[in-house]
Every structure is written in C-alpha cells, then in structure tokens.
Symmetry: D2
Subunit: 114 residues, 4 copies
C-alpha cells in the first residue's frame, strides 16, 4: 500500500496534476470510478455476478484498480490510512450490528435501534 | 490488507450475510459509500476541501473506511487483489497519459488519441 | 415542469444559495441523491424491488423527488430542458439499439458495433 | 412528461427489455448515468462549470437526457410521478430549511435541528 501511494504521488507530480487533485475533485473521481464498476453489474442477475466471464472479470479488475487508486490518493491527501480506517470501521460495525440481533437479516442498522 | 480481508470475512460469516453479499450488491454498496464521501464535499470549495475541520475529517475518515471495506470484500469475492490491480492500472495510465503530452492539463485521455 | 423550475428558483433565492449551486456542485448533489435511491435497493432482490412495502415506497418517492429537483435545477442552470433532452436521447437510442438486433439482450450497445 | 413515459414504455417493449428493467436495476442505471454527468465536471473549477464550451454542453445535455429517461422509467415502474414527488419534496424542504435560519449557509439541515 505504501508502494502504491508513492507510485501515485510520482505519477501525479510528473504530470503536474496536483492543482486538479483537490480532495473535492478526487471524491468526485472516486465516485465516478465506483459507478463504472456498477455499470458492469447493472443488467446481470446476482447469480451471474457470482460467475463473471473471464473477459468481463478482467475489465472489472481494472475498474477496481481505478477505485483503489483514487481512494488511496484521496486518503493520502487527507492524511488517512485507508486500511487502518477500514479496520477501525469494522470494529464500529461489530457494535452497530450485533451478530445475535442481525443474523441473516439485511436491514439497515437503524432498524435495530428503534 | 490480508488482515482486513480476514476480518471482513469473519464479520460477514458471523452475521450470515453471505447471501446478500453478491458482487452485484457489493458494487451497489461500494458506490453508495463513495457517494457518502462526495456528500461531505458537495457544498465546499476546492480550497475548503484541502483544509477540512477536524470533526468533518473524522467523519470522512469513517466513510473512507466504508469504501475500503466494500472494495476489499468485492475484490475478495472476485479473486482480485485491489492493491495489485491498482498498481497494474498505474502502469497502464503511464502509457495512456504520457507526461510530455498531458503535463498540467486535465483532459480525458481520449483527447490525446484523436 | 415549468412550475417546478420556478419553485426551485424561488426556494434557492430565498435562501441565498445561488453561490453554492454551481453546475459542478449540483452534479455532485444529483449523484448523491441518485445513490440514496440505490441504497434502498442494495440488499433486496430484483423480485422484492418490484414489490416494495408501502413505507419503503414512500421513502423512495421522496428520493425520486430529490433527484428530480437537482436534475431540474442543473438543467435550468445550463439552459437545458430535461424532458426535451430525454426525448431527443430516446431517438438516438432507437438508432443505437435496433430492436431487431438487441431484442431480449442486455448487452451494451458497443457490443453491436463490433 | 406523459409523452416521454409512453415513448420509454414503447422503446422497452419493442426490445423485450422488461425483465432486465427491475426497479433495482433501474436504480443502478440511474446512478451510473448521474455519474456520467459528474465525470464532465470532475476536473473543472466551479467557475468553468458555469461557462461550459458549446461542445461539452451538448454532451452534458445528452447525459441529462439519460438521467431523465431512467428516472422517468423507475418512477413509472413504482407508480410515482417524478414532478409531483419533486414538488412535494420542495414543500418539505421549505420546512426543513427555514430561510431565516439557513440564509447564505450551506450546512446540512441536521445542523439546524441540534
């Protein structure tokens, strides 16, 4: 992950793109790339999404790479470690969604706080 | 990253949420979380986005965690390593956007292939 | 639609929100609201999505309202009539996706141009 | 708007695409199209977004058409009139964001309910 961060920093500096890459703009780019993943799945069934053809999987892998790039860059700009942030959020989610209460149910956590 | 992946797997299994977590649904959840980052930036200027107040930064950090969680889980379901996918994409981007051509310009790469 | 446009204009002016409502920011807000619709559908099956409970339908109706508001406002700022733009796009789509070629298939139109 | 709805219905039926067009899938397509609008604005300044070049405006107009199409179709499938839903939401927003309290401020409404 540190290597990725450094490669992204070098890539941006070599192109003098820092002034375009404000956190606001990076958040936009991140969501655009996330939607490009969604586009691959919008007309397939859930079952089909579990068994992507090899060619489609290769395309989705590239989109996952794009999301990871912008997430790493946005996090870097904000001084956040995305993997640490994720692990901290998993701990929060464990308390928000107690296994005993939500087992096998997909409702939003607020349903359990009513 | 491997630790994160394992923690997510355990979290999902303890809640019996596997059947909800098809790649199709995870792609949707990923884009929803990416938009929750965007929501924090939609009314601020680019300049303000470079200097978030501490409280807002803490909220954005949690949203970054959410995006990282769904990205890691989606990638895991598809057998993709997200950091490897990102590094491979940086290499592709180096060829798509030659520094000499795009330096200081934000146009989409297709503009350079015309 | 003209009434809606005028109501939105009055709403924004009364709150002196014009300077926040640049097309860039409105595009962000539009995508955030579209994702709030997606959030309602991310863990339900396609079948369930065709039969929403009354309470959930009322929530989705409000999110549809939010998307329509930001779409109307963005279009107004850009001097575009969204319904006219949609009807023009349907005409384009008729040529891009000839019924004889795509009947019953969900592939992206580029698949048919290869 | 009724004409648009009828044109979309005919377009979908002629292509036998009804089975792909569940509300879940239409919500996904809607958010993907909203992101295609965002993509046009992600690297431009707010000022530039208020003065799009003619060619770019023509592209954004097509994306607005796409969002309007999927919004109209999703709303139709759910038995919702999108313009009525928007006007009802403007009324709700008038109460949520009293002009006297929020004038010239962009904070989220919850800030005013604390």
């Amino acid at each position: 992950m540190q290597d990725l961060r450094d490669e992204i920093r070098a890539f941006i500096e070599e192109r003098a793109w820092q002034r375009f890459h404000s956190p606001k703009n990076l958040a936009m780019a991140l969501s655009v790339e996330a939607s490009e993943i969604v586009e691959h799945f919008q007309w397939v069934t859930e079952e089909e999404s579990r068994n992507l053809p090899r060619e489609k999987l290769a395309e989705v892998r590239q989109e996952i790479g794009d999301v990871m790039i912008y997430l790493a860059e946005l996090a870097d700009k904000l001084g956040v470690d995305p993997v640490e942030a994720a692990r901290a959020k998993v701990e929060i989610n464990k308390r928000k969604y107690p296994a005993a209460l939500v087992r096998g149910k997909a409702s939003k956590y607020t349903d359990y706080l009513r």
